[in-house]
Point group: C2
Chain length 237, copies 2
């Protein structure tokens, strides 16, 4: 690794390649075990995320146990059913939903529950005094670091959000004051799709970059001082 | 960029280098303008974050206007004062807090407000039906992508959380249903500190990696099947 503070062309490319080829992986898990050093390395990447007031409010529960994962899978099955019922008035979307593979809880070798502890270094957390949600935002930044580091190692991560926090609290003995933020399934992947599964399946399309940017105020699509930049982003997807 | 799905040594190093050398930058901004192509590139990196149900619920308000930034700075000043009052019973911490540089709103060439729109592609968002907060978690992943991409370009980002969402709503004409998530200050930096400012200032220390990991359940520090891994992480910081 170049010790210099600036990045070589190939180092830069590595970051962008990780960002653009990272996927939510629910299929293609292979049985190859993740070496301890690699798992430690990607967890350390997560641990070096930014955190409000340097509060580092995250915890990582590593799960291999078959029975524990079965219980989590049951919560997924229950919540999936509820989702399907919600689509009762849109049969075409309901059918598509049913056809999608949405988790790899049992197929992946490791599951990780990432949690947020609002009491860490508290009650006064620098920078969290005006907007209390910034604490959990830090945990999400750690998750994204973990996801990108896994990607460069060839490890896929799938985030299972179709389950309840109540179930996770109970199954994993998480204290009441701690909030589960993500339930992740990790494993080496035989394949990373070129596009997100939901884009491939025609569920939704990627929005144009220009459509999520505004200038100086909400919803303003062009101003004098940003005119050239507007042109620069208008065709990017 | 190697078209291969696997990462070269140097591409891998680039990702880890970005993660470990990323800082919350409040000082060291230089006046050099950010080229349109570079700004578009790092925003596109943000736009390629994972999002629940591929909902892409983020918006980016780009701000150069001096008057707008002055108003945001006023909100910061007000909230900073409140924070200082909260430390009235800990004079040593209060003194330290007062000495810290916590934002670069006026010194940085560009500010970006990142927001969360829960109505995007709604009301049914796949994967958000059981845990509604997952929508805003996606926005945080986008912010971390932006932060890392900025880092490889030599651009520092400082996240200002000492202000109110009410002020941001008003100053930037953000609709009621949209939530401001982050107010970021961006600019080329003459320097990236080796450690976080708050660690350098002795505000808090980095926790050992082993202390934020547990096994199979909350708070379990060792199990038979994880014994070797426990040893592997115990000295990592």
């Amino acid at each position: 690794m170049s010790k210099d503070k600036s990045f070589s062309r190939s180092e830069k490319d590595g970051l962008y390649k990780a960002i653009f080829s990272r996927r939510d992986v629910r299929s293609h898990f292979i049985s190859k075990q993740i070496p301890d050093e690699t798992l430690a390395k990607i967890l350390n990447a997560a641990h070096h995320a930014p955190s409000v007031g340097f509060s580092q409010p995250w915890n990582f529960i590593l799960i291999k146990d078959h029975e524990t994962r079965q219980k989590v899978k049951q919560s997924f099955m229950k919540e999936r059913k509820k989702s399907i019922l919600m689509l009762d008035n849109d049969k075409s979307k309901q059918k598509k939903y049913k056809s999608l593979k949405l988790e790899g809880i049992m197929e992946s070798p490791i599951n990780i529950c990432v949690t947020y502890d609002p009491t860490r270094f508290g009650p006064f957390v620098l920078g969290r005094t005006s907007i209390s949600e910034t604490g959990v935002y830090s945990v999400c930044c750690a998750i994204q670091n973990l996801w990108l580091a896994a990607r460069v190692e060839g490890i896929g991560i799938g985030w299972v959000s179709i389950l309840t926090n109540e179930a996770l609290h109970k199954i994993l003995s998480i204290p009441d004051h701690v909030r589960p933020v993500a339930y992740l399934c990790l494993g080496y992947a035989s394949k990373f799709e070129a596009k997100p599964d939901l884009e491939n399946a025609g569920w939704l399309q990627r929005i144009g970059l220009g459509d999520v940017i505004s200038y100086e105020k909400w919803g303003v699509c062009k101003t004098h001082s940003w005119a050239q930049f507007c042109d620069c982003v208008k065709d990017i997807r």
